[in-house]
Symmetry: C2
């Protein structure tokens, strides 16, 4: 499948226009931020190429480009944690997308088995230097060894 | 300022460890997702280099790397829309950060004057092909021509 998105136009068209003209980077990717539609914050961060974006738009189910595996990735195809897209938005310069989703199965979005990939807090402020990350919301909802084996 | 972050260790250390070892890309950047601490969803998407991340951690105020200007960028330095970081998290493979923030001034995070950079919905589903973007939450809280002039 090749991209049928139009190339980005002028600065003003990109920011103020109502035509989706994604600004793919030199690897052909845009950023994709996934949040929990039920108010649970950021679940994961991934990338889409034109094919993944087209598949997401057409099906309403989240598809990404797996940089590690070099292939189209229908989220949940192995684990069952499919993501239904309740709303898709694009940012001002059209190089980032925001997917508000509902996750199937156990509700875990992270391949480590957690609900969110963001399960560690980075301490900030005057006394932050050298402090360890702080685990938060890090319960495993599934065992990745079982789900991804074989 | 050079990075004093340790280099990423093993796969297991990166995902399960409590040491911040950011996985900077070939341009020396990690992704930075900014959400509204008061439940207002995703405000913007940007990047940080080691210096921006160190400054954000030390000050509790959001700093980024401006790819367009090629310089450290203390968000709000021109517009007054400084971002106080209420919580900073890192993702499983430590190449993305999530900043939960409160925005000063008018509360606008986007350089176009809107509260969020994500002010257009991309239609999805069976009849989505060829449909225009749909403006949402796109009121301008400030006039960019005035704020960024001169």
């Amino acid at each position: 499948m090749t991209s049928s998105f139009l190339a980005p136009g002028s600065h003003d068209e990109l920011e103020e226009g109502l035509q989706l003209t994604p600004k793919f980077d030199r690897d052909g990717l845009v950023a994709a931020i996934v949040t929990d539609a039920d108010g649970g914050g950021v679940l994961m961060f991934a990338h889409m190429n034109a094919e993944a974006l087209r598949a997401t738009i057409a099906t309403g189910v989240a598809h990404f480009w797996s940089r590690s595996r070099g292939k189209l990735w229908r989220k949940g195809e192995t684990s069952g944690h499919e993501m239904t897209v309740l709303e898709l938005r694009v940012d001002c310069d059209q190089d980032a997308l925001w997917l508000s989703v509902r996750v199937a199965g156990t509700g875990a979005a992270c391949h480590t088995g957690r609900r969110s990939c963001f399960y560690r807090v980075v301490p900030t402020g005057e006394n932050a230097a050298g402090r360890s990350l702080e685990p938060v919301d890090d319960e495993r909802l599934f065992d990745p060894k079982t789900v991804y084996s074989g």
